[in-house]
């Protein structure tokens, strides 16, 4: 049994899936983020001063890229996995010798690939609005990959546990969107009252956005080391959780 072929098969199928329906998977985030660039960056941003020595337009670019990465990777995995559960073709994998960790790795890779492609597209659009600046390309890579991994894993757990289509949209609507908007995409938490600064520190997305922004401009509201640590911890915890769910067939086997 070549586990690698099984992994490749899942990844290929996942990538083909979102590529085939690129109008629904790749284009929408590009359009939405472009609107943010135009409205917040250009129209409103032109009336705002700089944040930490960076123009408002430039300041929001990393956060908007990250927001697109988060949503894309999460929704890719949750919708792909849930629909295969709903159509029952997930049984094709379940009857095969493919180990749980390979199923997880395959789906997550699919989500990461979509997240990275969407992130790259959004970043390319930002070049039309502001001159890109790169402080540390290595950190940028780490943050985009790990963030996409964390949210792909989250999407997978959601897909495994979901029982209906409502369960699929609850987390993105009630958890991801608010945390992202409050995660320092549009503002520096330094501009918040101290109390809200402290509250914000409980938001993991804040660390991802700031770490990513640090890769571009070398400035961050929070410690980059803490950000890396949080990313790795979330990856590990979610990976273990998914492995446990898949291994025991929770949400999959009656």
């Amino acid at each position: 049994m070549s586990t690698f072929i099984a992994y490749q098969t899942i990844v290929r199928r996942e990538v083909n899936r979102f590529m085939r329906i690129w109008l629904q998977t790749l284009l929408p985030p590009v359009i939405t983020q472009t609107l943010y660039f135009v409205i917040f960056g250009k129209f409103i941003g032109s009336q705002l001063g700089q944040i930490g020595g960076i123009s408002y337009m430039s300041f929001i670019v990393p956060g908007l890229v990250m927001m697109a990465v988060i949503n894309s990777s999460y929704s890719n995995v949750v919708s792909s996995f849930f629909s295969s559960k709903f159509q029952r073709n997930v049984e094709e994998i379940l009857v095969s010798p493919t180990p749980s960790w390979v199923i997880m790795a395959g789906y997550v890779t699919g989500g990461v690939v979509r997240g990275v492609i969407v992130g790259a597209l959004v970043f390319s659009v930002s070049v039309f609005f502001t001159h890109p600046h790169i402080f540390n390309i290595f950190l940028i890579g780490i943050f985009i990959l790990f963030t996409a991994t964390v949210f792909s894993l989250g999407g997978l757990a959601n897909g495994i546990l979901a029982r209906n289509f409502d369960d699929v949209s609850i987390v993105p609507t009630f958890v991801l969107t608010p945390l992202t908007y409050l995660g320092g995409v549009f503002y520096s938490i330094m501009s918040l009252p101290v109390f809200w600064q402290k509250v914000s520190l409980f938001n993991p997305i804040l660390y991802m956005v700031n770490g990513f922004r640090y890769g571009f401009y070398g400035v961050s509201d929070v410690s980059v080391i803490a950000s890396v640590f949080i990313l790795i911890s979330f990856t590990a915890i979610l990976a273990l959780m998914n492995f446990y769910l898949l291994k025991n067939g929770i949400g999959l086997k009656n």
Partner: protein, 300 residues
């Protein structure tokens, strides 16, 4: 060696339904075995447990001596399953479905494409290889599920009502194919509601009733238990039936009566009827023989 061995298998669903009660049986490698039972008897549940789609409550399952709890990878590699309900991605193309399935079993793309061509041709689906599965007819979907189950060359093929909704001609084609696979050494476990199929194909038969195994025997032995058969006899005009009274004729309609005869009585019976002066215009077996026995087993 046993291709499949099930010991003390029980299954209670979360809602409390006990679908299997202490079921034990074993299928020899190379066998062609039928799994019968009324709707809800537990056939699909049993298959689900063997193929790792359902969790068992207790018991032990071995596939070619590999315990599914510990050697799941080896066990699964050996099983091909045709589920009762369609479960492929309706947007995926026919050949892609096979190639993807092969991939999950670790078979590389090129080999899978070649093997899938052979199987699709054999099952008459080659012309549909680039069609999305949702555009296939019901019978084609059934065949697609068989093709998918065979792509990794399993040694134990489990089919859950593969011929449901398949037309007569195709059904015979499928039988031929299954016989051929069995002759090549593949062990087959077949669930069906058509007893003709069992008579045609199977060597052994397991019958489940309310989750319990009530019979596990050679089809041939079961047929022997069917000593007497019921016949419907139509004659030109019913006359004094006194001399055939011992056969217990029961008048059904004008000119038609029913008798229960063993094979050795048939000749004698026909002679007697002719002696009385009746002309037999129709003489037929009342329903399927195995079906009768099956119903009897389920009733007791």
């Amino acid at each position: 060696m046993h291709a499949l061995s099930v010991q003390h298998l029980s299954k209670i669903y979360v809602n409390g339904t006990q679908a299997l009660k202490d079921v034990s049986f074993a299928i020899e490698a190379g066998d062609f075995c039928a799994l019968l039972g009324a709707n809800g008897a537990g056939k699909t549940t049993l298959i689900g447990i063997v193929t790792d789609l359902l969790k068992k409550t207790s018991g032990e399952v071995k596939v070619f001596d590999h315990n599914i709890d510990f050697k799941f990878s080896k066990a699964k590699q050996l099983i091909g399953v045709v589920p009762q309900e369609f479960n492929f991605n309706i947007f995926e193309k026919v050949q892609d479905i096979l190639v993807t399935q092969a991939g999950y079993f670790g078979i590389d793309h090129r080999k899978a494409r070649m093997d899938s061509e052979v199987i699709l041709k054999r099952l008459g689906l080659w012309s549909k290889k680039d069609s999305a599965s949702r555009t296939l007819s019901g019978g084609m979907k059934r065949r697609l599920m068989i093709a998918r189950a065979l792509i990794h060359h399993p040694k134990l093929l489990i089919l859950d009502e593969p011929t449901a909704g398949v037309d007569v001609e195709l059904r015979h084609g499928m039988w031929d194919y299954l016989k051929e696979l069995n002759q090549q050494g593949m062990t087959i476990l077949l669930t069906t509601h058509y007893l003709e199929e069992v008579e045609q194909l199977c060597r052994n038969v397991a019958i489940l009733k309310n989750g319990e195994l009530v019979t596990y025997d050679r089809v041939y032995h079961l047929m022997q238990r069917l000593e007497k058969e019921i016949y419907l006899v139509t004659v030109d005009r019913i006359q004094d039936v006194g001399s055939i009274q011992k056969f217990g004729p029961m008048i059904k309609e004008e000119n038609t009566f029913e008798v229960e005869l063993s094979k050795s009585d048939v000749h004698d019976f026909i002679l007697k009827v002719t002696e009385i002066g009746m002309t037999i215009t129709d003489f037929r077996s009342q329903g399927h023989r195995l079906e009768k026995l099956y119903l009897k087993i389920l009733k007791t």
